[in-house]
């Protein structure tokens, strides 16, 4: 369980007990998690959601305390505490305590209250109208940093989300932000978001809910963190990837030094390029034998573990001492030139590293392209589908792609994932092209060519329609 703001928690408890006006005397600090009961460890084990039918025993998941809103939330357990089930994928979250939040703990048959599947159903209102946070917010330079650990049920791909609503002094929203679980959620995986807090903000409503993909919204969450800071905060080391260029960097925004002994970045879509001109490995750029700017390990030599021709992973380790090095806080290490990530719509990277004795799932953030994934068919990763993509597809029709990775073949027009660029890919691209460029875009494209006949036709049509309307008016 994470360290929490005990002072605020005490105040919240007093407020809840009617001993204190809510928020009245609270001065929110900066650089501290302002969420009360962020790890969902404070629960009432005597309150459970009802069974789906009267003959069924009640669920054993306990009621989560300290959060408010019209729909009460319940917890599952990492370790079956009190007989509460664990439905999350992978191993229990290290530092996750006994319980985690499930937005799907209440059967829909019992609406209300029902599943928690939208913001505003289960939340905390955090007062930032006084104290250090207020001072920072007034400058316009205050950042929100929101993060959590996410998981799901089997392959449901339901995703938990933490939603922020920035409310002004009149409780009117002046902005929103959100962070959600990011596939693949085959284990507990962190994600984080940051940005500027609107300067009129006086209260931040932190909602948690599940984004439904299959059946109930099994978007499990733990260790929710919201803080006001002058700089960015992330709970783990992170890989940042530029969607358009495919550059990559490793960053430590955890607020302190982090030991790193090895790491791996994997891609099921084979979208990684380990070539020397792309991947800037620690072994070749930042270790004892290859010192340079942003040196990571000045004492040991690292070894690349990735085969130079493989596209499924980038991995390396300090095999010399197996001790690694401490990555200082706020350090950003360029880890890949353009094309290290073979840009594509499948944002499937998994980043893991060994720190001390822990194997940690790190954060992967994708930047650029207006905050959205590249569209399918955008073969040159420009952000849209146009004739430049067509040129790539056409130039590679019926070329031999057998030696390429899935991502490499995709970038040359293999939209169907069979390492061929043939009729199937042509049809798929044509459909995407039409959809991206709007119905009738083909006609529009033709019309945009300098053809006087088009305007003449329109004029002719207009001259015909006007007398026609007049005539009919007379008849009526």
């Amino acid at each position: 369980m994470k360290v929490t703001d005990l002072r605020r928690k005490l105040l919240a408890a007093l407020a809840a007990g009617g001993m204190l006006a809510p928020g009245a005397m609270y001065a929110a600090p900066v650089d501290a998690n302002l969420v009360v009961n962020p790890g969902f460890e404070n629960v009432d084990t005597n309150v459970h959601p009802p069974g789906t039918v009267s003959t069924e025993p009640a669920y054993l998941n306990p009621l989560i305390l300290d959060w408010t809103g019209p729909r009460p939330g319940f917890a599952y357990s990492h370790n079956n505490t009190g007989g509460t089930f664990n439905y999350a994928n992978g191993s229990p979250l290290v530092g996750g305590g006994n319980y985690y939040f499930t937005p799907n703990s209440v059967p829909n048959a019992f609406v209300p209250p029902g599943d928690i599947d939208a913001p505003g159903q289960m939340y905390q209102d955090i007062d930032v109208s006084t104290g250090a946070s207020r001072t920072l917010i007034d400058t316009g330079n205050a950042r929100y940093n929101v993060s959590a650990f996410f998981n799901t049920y089997l392959n449901d791909n339901d995703r938990g989300a933490v939603h922020l609503d920035f409310l002004n002094g009149s409780s009117v929203s002046v902005g929103t932000a959100q962070v959600a679980g990011q596939a693949p959620l085959d284990e507990w995986a962190p994600n984080a978001a940051t940005g500027l807090i609107p300067s009129a903000t006086r209260t931040v409503r932190v909602s948690i809910y599940g984004i439904l993909n299959n059946a109930g919204p099994d978007g499990y969450m733990d260790n929710v963190d919201f803080r006001v800071s002058a700089s960015e905060y992330q709970p783990t080391l992170a890989i940042s990837v530029d969607r358009n260029s495919g550059t990559m960097s490793l960053s430590n925004l955890t607020g302190g030094p982090v030991n790193i002994k090895s790491y791996s970045i994997t891609s099921a879509f084979e979208a990684l390029d380990p070539a020397n001109a792309k991947w800037k490995s620690i072994a070749e750029n930042y270790d004892a034998g290859n010192p340079g700017p942003n040196q990571v390990d000045s004492l040991h030599n690292w070894t690349e573990l990735t085969v130079a021709t493989a596209n499924g992973d980038l991995s390396e380790a300090d095999l010399e001492s197996a001790m690694g090095a401490a990555l200082p806080d706020d350090r950003v290490v360029p880890l890949g030139n353009a094309g290290t990530w073979i840009s594509n719509p499948n944002e499937d990277l998994i980043f893991r590293y060994v720190s001390g004795t822990q194997l940690v799932r790190g954060i992967v953030t994708y930047t650029g392209n207006g905050g959205v994934a590249l569209p399918n068919g955008d073969l040159n990763a420009s952000g849209n589908i146009n004739s430049a993509d067509w040129v790539i597809l056409r130039n590679n029709q019926h070329t031999n792609m057998s030696g390429l990775s899935l991502a490499e073949a995709y970038r040359l027009g293999d939209l169907s994932g069979d390492k061929l660029n043939n009729h199937a890919d042509f049809v798929e691209f044509k459909t995407l092209y039409d959809a991206a460029n709007g119905a009738g875009s083909f006609a529009a494209m033709v019309a945009s060519l300098p053809e006087p006949s088009t305007s003449i036709l329109i004029l002719a049509a207009a001259t015909i329609v006007l007398p026609a309307i007049r005539r009919r008016t007379k008849h009526n």
Partner: protein, 437 residues
Amino acid sequence: MIPSASYAVNIPLGDPSFDLYTVPANPGYAYAAPPNGSYRPTSPWVDDLDNPTGFTQDNNNSNWLYDAAYAEPPGSVRPSPRTGNQAMHGLDGNFNAQELTNVFEANKTYTFKIWAQNDVLLDQGNGVGVYIFDGNVPFNPLGTGLLAGNFFQDSAINQRTSTMTAVQSKANWNQLSVSHTVVAGAPEIGHPIGVGFRGFRDSAVDDATLESNDTITQVVYLEINTTNGNVRMRNQTGATVNIDYYEITGPNNSLNPSWTGFQNANPPLSGFPQGNGSGNGWEKAGGTGDNNSDVLSESYLTGHSAVVNGADLPLGSAFNVGSPQLIQFKYGAVSMTPQSGDYNDNGVVDTADYVLWRKGGPLFNDPTVGWQPADYGVWRAAFGNSATNPSTLITGGVTYVTSASAAGVPEPSTILLVGAGIMLLAGMNTRYQRMTN
């Protein structure tokens, strides 16, 4: 060049109308095996083709035969047999198949057809499937021996209604079909022809047929001149075929990557715009094959072209003279979904449709049949809509001619000649149709 043999040949099937085995008058139906009758020992439709991997026709879960009396209410709500006294009823998607002594021949297109009708009550299962398979490979609708298969949902099959008489039900069947084109060099050539069907609980079938046609009367085909290497794309199907893609494949070094195609035709072929690189017309693929095979391909991103009946389009010298005659041809056929407001039925709602409405019709694709002033609003709301669907890859035909045999086919060096050629072919086609009727 209409070969004298270019008419449909019916290939006889065993027990095509399901009348060979007579079901017991009581109860009026029979399964493949006892206790409810036993059509299996005599019926060509249950010859255990995939033995021993679980062919289940010889148990009580087989499709079942029934007679005309059983079909009629009260007590039954089955389609009245289309011909003869019996029909076959589906059950749980079971298969019936048969293997013929006739073998697959190159450049033939085989079409297996069967009539189908649904029960009055649609509540227990969906559809009928029809299949053509290689008789040398155990029949499996998902297996390697399957050459072609079509599955028809209940919605694609006529239903007997509760008020229909036996006579009305007899006339209510609709024919389902599946086709397979055998190209030169195909592995199934010389193998026995296999046909089969499957049925679910709400559908019956009757009167199966199999016919073969010269491929060139069924699909667009390539005519390859082995004397000079010139290749032409021709259509003698009797209908326009809209295409946005084609590919010609052959053994390594059998095709010429400098062929002219549509993109480099000089003069350009009418109706086949030449792309400028942006996809606004026909453009050649960047790849032309590898060390194992050659591919010549062109595609049209932002539209499609009509290969009209009788079309004879020169693609230039695409065939390397002396190469083995193992060329394959496929094309992307664009189907159209009729669009409201496309009053002249040309596939797109455009100003020409407005002009037609102004002139008072007649209007195709008019949701309110007949000319009305309100049809203007329909046109306006639909303006710009296109009927085009993604193209389907069709196996085309390939024929080989020599300069001597091709003599007399006009070279379309002038528009006049093209027109004459089409008229000539159209005339021949009419004659062909008369012969088949």
